[in-house]
Structure formats: C-alpha cells, structure tokens
Amino acid sequence: MLKFVVRRVLWTIPIILLVIFMTFWMMRAIKGSPFRKSERAVPPAVLANLNRKFGLNKPWYVQYKRYVVDVAKADLGPSLVLRNQSVNDIVKEHFPVSAELGGLAMLLSMLVGIPLGIISALRVNTITDYTAQFFSNLGFAIPSFFTATLLIYFFAAKWRFFPTNGWDTAGSKVLPVIALSLFPLTYFVRLVRGQMLETLQQDYVRTAKAKGLRWRRIVVVHVLRNSLIPALTAAGPILGGLVTGSFIIENIFAIPGIGRYYVTSVQGRDYSTVMGITVLLSVLIIVANMFVDIMYGILDPRTREARS
C-alpha cells in the first residue's frame, strides 16, 4: 500500500518537470517575449533584473535548470510590468482570492449536487428525476457568462440583494460563488446519478435484496459507497472546469483573483507572470490529480490489493 502511494507521488515529479519544460518552451516561442533571444522588447533595467533572475544569456538548458530550481524554491521571478513586484507577490495577493472562490464553489456544488444526484437516481424516471435532469442539462449547456449575467441582472441590479462586483463583503461573495458552482453542480448531479443507476443494476444489489436487507441499508451500505467512490474521479475535470470558470467569473464580477490577473498579464505582456501563474496552476492540477488517484487507490479494495 505504502509502495503504491510513494510510487504515485514520485511519478508526479517527472510530470511536473515536463510541464515546466513545455511552459518554458512555449514562453520562448512567443513573439516579443524577453525569453526569445532575438527580441528583448523590455526596458534595460527590467532586462538586467531578468537576466540576473533567469540567466537569459545562458544556454537554454541552464535557464531551464535555473527555473526549475527556482520553482522548487517557490520563487517565480520578477514581474515584467510591475517594477517592484515579483510574481510571488502577485500570486500571494491574488491566489487566495481565487482559492476561496473556487473552494466555496466546489463545496456548494457538492452539497447540492451530490444529494440531487442521489435523489434523482432513487426516483428515476419520475417527475423529480425529469426536473433535475432538465435543470442539469440547462446548467451545462448555458454558458457561465450568461448565467452570471442573469444572476447579476436580477439579484444585484434589479433587486439589489447583492453588490454587482467585488470581493470584500460576505454579500459580494454570494453571486460569484453561485455562478461558479453551477457548472460543477450539474456535473455532480449527472455523475452521481449515472453512477448510482449503474450500481443499482449490479448483481450484488439483487443479492442484497434477496437477503431481505432493508432498502435503506442497501442504498447506504451497498449502493452509495460504490457510487460515490467513482464520483471522486471527477475531481480532476472539475478542478480544470473551476479554473476555466474562474477566469470568466472573476472577469465578470471584477474579482481580484488569479484568473483575472492572468488575462491582464497576457494582454499586458507580462510574460514572467504568465509563465509563473501557468506553472502554478499546472502544479496544482497535477498534485490534485495525484491526490485523487491515491484516494481512489486507498478506497477501492481491488486496486489497493492489486498494487500492494
């Protein structure tokens, strides 16, 4: 068991290295980027700073190694645009906001989505199920910028329950969290419902019934356990979806998070920040996937025993 965990953790390292490598090369490929030898369209002071930090005149493998070492030390370099701020500062300022937004959205989507999925499956092909299906279909088809706009239009602009933007008061957090949670929510509903329906068809559920066990016990002990564990595997795509969604939501609600900052960095040609945030998000996703894999391995006795 321990071997499995250790091996999975160790595998993450070359993957992260590869990701940094790819990001590194992509940054060098962008025209106008100071990472390109030919065009260093940056003021000399900043260039000197960058040179010191990234060793821009050294061969690429030295640059790469330096960058990796820096990332390992959690040092993402200086910003190209904000003279006296490093990427780390930027990240420290903006990342917690996104993390809070994403975390709350994830929580809300699970608290509402999972029970809805369970109820839909248990009452399959009834009005309850059809209604839940209908709304969840709408939820994944309607683009999030539209639902966010709808929310603002009614709840903020027209009825003035909440502010239209910002991230300072508790009230200002309500709409963006709801807007961001809608997509993962529908995802959970569909996923849990599907898993449960499949589990309910399994032979061992029939056996459990034949043993005369009470239905409630069958659902909780036999069905739910086996359905929710695979639902874990959704964590990967959901995290990806949250990252993508946050770009939009932060943009619409003017939330000072990392998604919004990423876009302004790209538009403002702050390449070191772009690279830094990309690497940060990538590492986050990879580590999250690793956790999911490990959790799945621990919870499912078949994989657990197969690997030990």
Partner: protein
C-alpha cells in the same frame, strides 16, 4: 399442505414494443424436504418465475395474476417491506454468476454477518462465529482467516459456496438456486451440486433448482417441471420423466428421439432443435412448440388451439397434442394394418 404452492402464475413485462408474457400460467408445488427442478432453455421464463416468488422483479415486470402461497401465506399482494422479512429468512435464493453477485467493496464476512444481523438476534461476535461455521460447512478452507477477505480473493467456485453459506445462514425453509453451476467450470459443478444436496438434507430444506441442463436435475431433483415459452409443458417425478418422457420437447432435451419412418412423421434425429421459441409479445393461439415440433403437421388441432396441461398418467402432466405414449400407440396401430 405443500411448503410452496404456485397457482396459475402470470408475470408480464412492459416493453416499448408491448407486453411480454414471460410467465404465462405456471402452477406447481414444492413439498417439505423435496427438490423441484425447473428445466428449460434461456428465455423460457424459469428465472422470472423464481424472481416472481421472491418479489424481485425489475420495475418493468409485474405479476398480473395467479397466486404464490408460502406456508399458506399469500405472497403476491405483499409489500416490499413484508417481503423483506421473508427473503433471506424463510426463502433464500442464489444466483447464476458468483463473480458479480457479491459486493466487491465489502468483505465476505461482512456480507454473511449482515444477513444474520438482519434476521436473527445475534451479536456481532456470535454472528462472526456462526459465519466461520458456515464457511466450514460449505468447505471453504481456512475459514477463520478468510472471513475478512474481499471477494476478489476467492475463485468462482468458492464464491458460489459463499453465496450458499449466506443463503443458509438464517436456516431458510426453501432455497431457490437459479442456474447455480452454469457459470462454473465443469469440474467444479459436481462439487457444488453435491454440497447443495448434502446441506439440503442436513438443514431439512426444500429446494428449487433452475437450470437448462438436464444432467443437473437428473441427480438433484425429486420432481421436474419442464418449461417452454413461459409455460410448463411437462411435469412429473424425475424418475418418471427420464424413463417415460412424453412431450416432444422433453425428448429433444434428453436427446433421445427414435428414427421413425412412418407416414406423416418427419424423419431424423432432433439433437439440436432448429428454430427459436416464439415471441412472447404476442403468443400465438396455438401450441407454442408446434413450429419446431417434429410431430406437428399443418392440419393438426395443436396448430389452431393451444393444448391444455393434462394428466396423462397419475402424477404426470403434459401439454401437447402428441405425447409419446399416444404416438407409440398409433405406431402400433399403423404397423398392425
């Protein structure tokens, strides 16, 4: 009074194309301590009969009419809640595929113990002790150590034994075994059948064995009912069935059909029966076996009207217009002319 009495059971399934008559008028009785074998090919309704008794039909199926009486109590009207008290305790069932019939994420021990905790008033420790005894009874080696293993550590044959152990755990009066050996290797099959027989005797249980394999019921069953297309076509004691089969379908199942060259009778052996059973969506108003029957010809009554189940000898029921006895008699007649 027999332990289980099934009377004119009809179970239909709602499908997009219409209503399928999966079980269309089945009657039989199982006495205490006796074994009934229900034999037939896939789709003849034997499994559905068992599921009807247990009340385990899928949502699309329902028992439209008929009665199922267990120890005098009528099962067909019962709520799921009431049936849950009977299942596992009075009537137990084991299924065809042991590989998928056990929950892979729970230990074997848990799955045996939960049944006993449901129906009997046992503490967890007592239940575990009893579980180990049961595993010993079904001849699982090193039962105490293996109690907390997960199903994937057991082979197919062993899992089926576990299923049997679970089924017996609360001492049911009736055990229904639906194709208990079909999914197992031939070498393992005999062991399971022997075990079932032994346990049945020890626990003084009645048993219903459902199978498509005549060989299985030959040893195990006291009485046999042959099913075809949702109906019983022949029903008698095992001895009588093997010595004097009457229905052409039974004969085919037994693989014994003498070559007859008399007029009006098709020639040849019928070891593999060509053709398929009729569509049960709209059963034909005639003998359901007629299209495949070597003795039926166009003008016969059985092609216009379905034959009734009649007692051709004492304790021997058959549903055909061409029972073997009468065929033989006609033979003699023809030869005598």
């Amino acid at each position: 009074m027999a332990l289980l009495e099934v009377d004119d059971l009809r179970t239909y399934f709602k499908t997009r194309a219409g209503e399928v008559h999966a079980v269309d008028g089945v009657s039989f009785a199982v006495d205490r301590g006796k074994t009934l074998g229900i034999v037939g090919e896939s789709g003849c309704g034997k499994s559905v009969t068992a599921l009807s008794i247990m009340g385990l039909l899928p949502p699309s199926g329902r028992t439209v009419s008929g009665s199922i009486r267990f120890e005098g109590r009528e099962l067909t009207g019962m709520s799921q809640h009431e049936l849950e008290d009977i299942r596992g305790r009075q009537i137990a069932m084991i299924f065809q595929d042991p590989m998928t019939s056990l929950n892979p994420t729970l230990t074997i021990g848990m799955q045996i113990v939960e049944t006993m905790q449901r129906h009997l008033d046992l503490s967890r420790d007592d239940a575990r002790k009893r579980a180990i005894e049961l595993l010993d009874e079904v001849r699982i080696p090193s039962a105490r150590q293996r109690l907390d293993d997960y199903p994937h550590r057991y082979s197919g044959g062993m899992r089926q034994r576990v299923m049997i152990a679970i089924a017996l755990s609360c001492n049911p009066k009736l055990l229904i075994a639906d194709e208990p050996t079909t999914a197992l290797d031939v070498t393992v099959q005999a062991g399971i059948l022997d075990l079932l027989d032994e346990l049945r005797e020890q626990h003084e249980m009645s048993m219903i064995i459902i199978t498509h394999d005549m060989g299985v019921v030959a040893e195990a069953a006291d009485d046999i009912a042959v099913m075809y297309a949702g109906q019983i076509v022949e029903q008698t004691s095992a001895e009588e069935l093997f010595d004097h089969p009457e229905h052409p379908y039974t004969e085919a199942l037994l693989g014994a059909l003498p070559q007859l060259e008399a007029e009006g009778v098709r020639e040849g052996r019928l070891t593999a029966i060509p053709g398929r059973p009729p569509d049960l969506l709209d059963p034909p108003p005639a003998c359901r076996f007629a299209p495949r029957c070597p003795y039926a010809s166009l003008g016969d009554s059985c092609t216009k009207e379905p034959p009734e189940l009649r007692e051709i000898r004492r304790g021997h029921l058959v549903r055909t217009a061409h029972p073997a006895g009468e065929r033989a008699a006609r033979e003699v007649e023809v030869a005598a002319r």
